[in-house]
Symmetry: C2
Subunit: 528 residues, 2 copies
């Protein structure tokens, strides 16, 4: 059987492979037919060289042309919906409908189109002009970007089609995509479309490149290479921290999305007035995609009491009755079981979910655990172990003060939620607890589960370490997410004819927002 | 003799000292009278606890009150100009006039007032509102900030009065200042004023704290402590990289300004038409403050030729004739001599500056070195050794292509300059070389030396590693510099009465700029 070629420097060519791998179908546990290469450093090296050339050339490519690429690509993805969805379903066992075909694929093409708009309008540039001193600055591309995508969104966070890809490209950077090894076939199909769109849009060779897999040492070397601008990584905390250490040592920006248990605090008034409804919302959010969302609610904080017992019983009941989904891979199955054992070993009680493998293919019984606040506080690190999958941990606090302590013991998370009584009866407790949770999460939600991550300019899909590597950045939300892949470039006393268009006196698009002498404006600069 | 107390948790109290130190007068090499403590971990620990309390309290302090503090502080600094300038002069040997009294001190109070305006207007918040989805986000304080200030600006970059301090405070973060050990007395006087202003403005205890010195291990531990929000460090590359490694491992943001040789490229047409004038500008910039500016032009790139020889001779002549200034410390004297030896050992030729100590106090002869392009390219790392002080290295390229190679071999720098013929004769060469230098520097200047760092909204006092730790941030320029000390905080489906003022429908100041549904606006949000 032939090993699939890699896409380097504008060519599909055989990999300088050090080995091969196959993905498997999580629903059957059988390997899929296609064989993919594990690239040696020679592939990485060539890709980096090509990316540097592309980065240079892209500096002279107008945003309009980059926008065209992103739109052509979005259209190709939609045109190839059927094979893409079939392949992603085979590789991930995620449901075809609505998930892959009707939710994730349109989200992906939508994100690409939104990035296209940003590339065209320059909304990410933050042009800042001091007319008195003739000092002008704006953001600019950083250089070649590595994207390491996660296993759980084969389209929307795919290394070669997802949010990080779109953000890096829209800001004029070439991307070297490292496929997630659990869906190489989906990534290959996307790369074919990306390559075609890049060709049609006339982008430099090496703007988009694909490797399927590289060794761990080569990965650490790759993100630290002098030719690299930055790296975006979404995946396991352990692997992410290895890349972070390597990139940090070399002074290379790296944006990480590592892990998050997404605490949900349900206040007593909410449980009392609409406990049954919230139990339903919670279980739906928890088991959606077999619990394999970055923002899956893995930790629920409740105040002890009779109504809380009823709530927990209702949740347990729903967990028991819900169908058991398929997990993304043997690795997810193994890690979920191991992490649940770790929670149980610490003293968490199993409410639902005795059996390790309970469904078709890779799977684990829907699992609900419970631990008391005092026990949680005795070993908060253990009880924040992310059990990625269809599992959640209920923590019951004996008092408001204990609930506050539990929140204070939380690590950085992507999200945190409060459910409160609509009539205002939880307001005092909310005002005591919310400020504590606020600084531990990137996005604070009220009366809403965290699993939805709207593509909104105001979204923050980020949060304090270890949820991500830096609390000031978001991976979703345009234009903020785009600025991760940019440098601030200042022009001091540079004459008009040598300035980039965004900093010229004349507004380059007629509608670009620029900060001129402290005020945001779409006007031209009146000659200084 | 008594050891000076530290300022912790709102009290001047004896340090839990592990030792003491004294500054000396660089002009006489004699120790100054006052004795300062080297803090043990116990001081650090108490300061961190107090800072955490202050950080919590500051969340409820309006920007108006923080602005008041910054303005009271600026006024106190100006009221105490005479003792401050006298102390700074004794500790640094920097000239009283114009430098300390007429330039740096007013710059410092001016920066504090500009930060006050930012605190009041919220210009740093970037409020972003999606009215359709009711998702709203803005920047928010990060938590306690360590500021490690440099030796070369006893006021304007002082740990407890300079740009980093002002930026961290204006965004609602407490600061623990670690004094630069070469000017502890100046820092003490500033801290007295800061403490008084904080008291008068009613800020929480622990908003402003001062330690004079801590051990290296405690420093690394301090920046990585779980209680810390972020660190700002300006100083030597070696010490900075140790702190960076510690902070990075703990996932704590750290902003560094490490080193920069600030390349100046003088194109042939400029030399031909106004070589003598540029030679004067260059030497003035080079020797200003005895060359101890972060943006001191330490590397000049010239094209070989007869006019260039005349230019170099003119520069050498001026170096020889210029008075020899005093260096900031024995350490600067020692390091300058060592780094010059390193350049000479690599083959750089000494044009001016045989004698190590040539002036009063700590000093070194004004030193001009020269190396050919081929030699530079054989060991570019060595020839980019920053010789901090009154020294500069001329690199002569044999051809335009060699000049391009030299620029391509440059590390990240804060600034880069081009001088070109005003008549347009250098335009082609500029267009070949400038894009290469552009991506290696934070600020690109034309026909202007880099030593001036205007306090401008469009300024970038930053640049690619190793000049700083991240190319997207600046240490000077409001509001951008302020955002270093912030987290992005998103509110999803949060009802109006629980939103921070910046995200309410009503514009909180009537003039705050907010990004509402993709457009910058000072209006209220029309109810969604």
């Amino acid at each position: 059987m032939n090993t699939e070629p890699v896409y380097v420097a504008g060519q599909w060519r055989p990999s300088h492979a050090s080995g091969t791998f196959q993905a498997d179908n999580p629903a059957t546990k059988n390997p899929l037919a296609d064989v993919y290469p594990i690239s040696s450093w020679a592939d990485v090296d060539e890709a980096l060289d090509a990316a540097v050339e592309a980065a240079d050339a892209l500096r002279n490519v107008p945003g309009e042309q980059i926008g065209l690429f992103l739109e052509l690509y979005a259209a190709l993805i939609e045109a190839q919906r059927a094979p893409l969805v079939a392949m992603a379903h085979a590789e991930t066992a995620l449901p075809v409908r609505p998930r892959l075909a009707e939710v994730e694929l349109p989200r992906t093409s939508g994100q690409l189109r939104e990035a296209a708009r940003a590339a065209r309008t320059g909304s990410w540039l933050l042009p800042t002009i001091d007319t008195k001193l003739n000092i002008r600055s704006c953001h600019a591309p950083l250089g070649p970007v590595w994207v390491f995508g996660p296993n759980n969104f084969p389209f929307a966070f795919n290394s070669i089609a997802g949010g990080d890809f779109a953000a890096a490209i829209a800001t004029g950077n070439p991307v070297i995509a490292k496929a997630n090894t659990s869906h190489p076939g989906t990534t290959r199909l996307l790369a074919l479309a990306a390559a075609q769109a890049a060709h049609e849009a006339g982008l430099p060779k090496g703007t988009v490149q694909l490797l399927y897999r590289i060794g761990h040492e080569d990965g650490a070397r790759a993100v630290a290479d002098a030719r690299v601008g930055a790296t975006a990584y979404t995946g396991s905390r352990a692997a992410g921290l290895v890349l972070k250490a390597a990139a940090d040592r070399a002074g290379k920006p790296i944006y990480l999305e590592l892990s998050s248990v997404n605490p949900v605090v349900i206040l007593p008034g909410a449980i009392q007035t609409r406990g049954e409804q919230i139990a339903g919302e919670f279980v739906t959010s928890c088991l959606m995609g077999t619990g394999q969302f970055c923002t899956n609610p893995g930790l629920v904080i409740l105040l002890e009491g009779a109504e809380t017992e009823k709530f927990v019983a209702a949740v347990a009941d729903k967990f028991r009755q819900a169908p058991v989904g398929t997990l993304l891979s043997s690795g997810v199955e193994r890690t979920l079981a191991a992490n649940l054992r770790k929670l149980v070993a610490g003293g968490a009680q199993i409410l639902v979910g005795e059996t390790p493998a309970a469904g078709a293919g890779y799977s684990h019984a829907n699992t609900l655990l419970r631990v008391g606040g005092a026990k949680f506080l005795a070993d908060p690190e253990r009880f924040q172990t992310e059990a990625f999958g269809n599992a959640s941990l209920v923590v019951t606090a004996r008092s408001n003060a204990e609930a506050a302590q539990i929140i204070d013991a939380l690590e950085g998370n992507l999200t945190g939620c409060f459910y409160a009584d609509a009539g205002g009866n939880d307001e005092t407790l909310y005002s005591q607890l919310a400020p504590r949770l606020r600084r531990r999460v990137g996005r604070l939600l009220n009366d809403k589960m965290p699993t939805g991550v709207a593509v909104s300019s105001a979204m923050n899909h980020g949060g304090p370490f270890p949820a991500t590597g830096h609390p000031g950045f978001t991976a979703v939300g345009i234009p903020a997410a785009l600025r991760r892949f940019t440098a601030l470039e200042c022009y001091d006393n540079v004459p008009a004819h040598r300035l980039p268009a965004a900093l010229a006196n004349k507004n380059p698009t007629g509608t670009m927002w620029r900060l001129i002498d402290g005020n945001w404006s779409q006007a031209d600069v009146t000659a200084a």
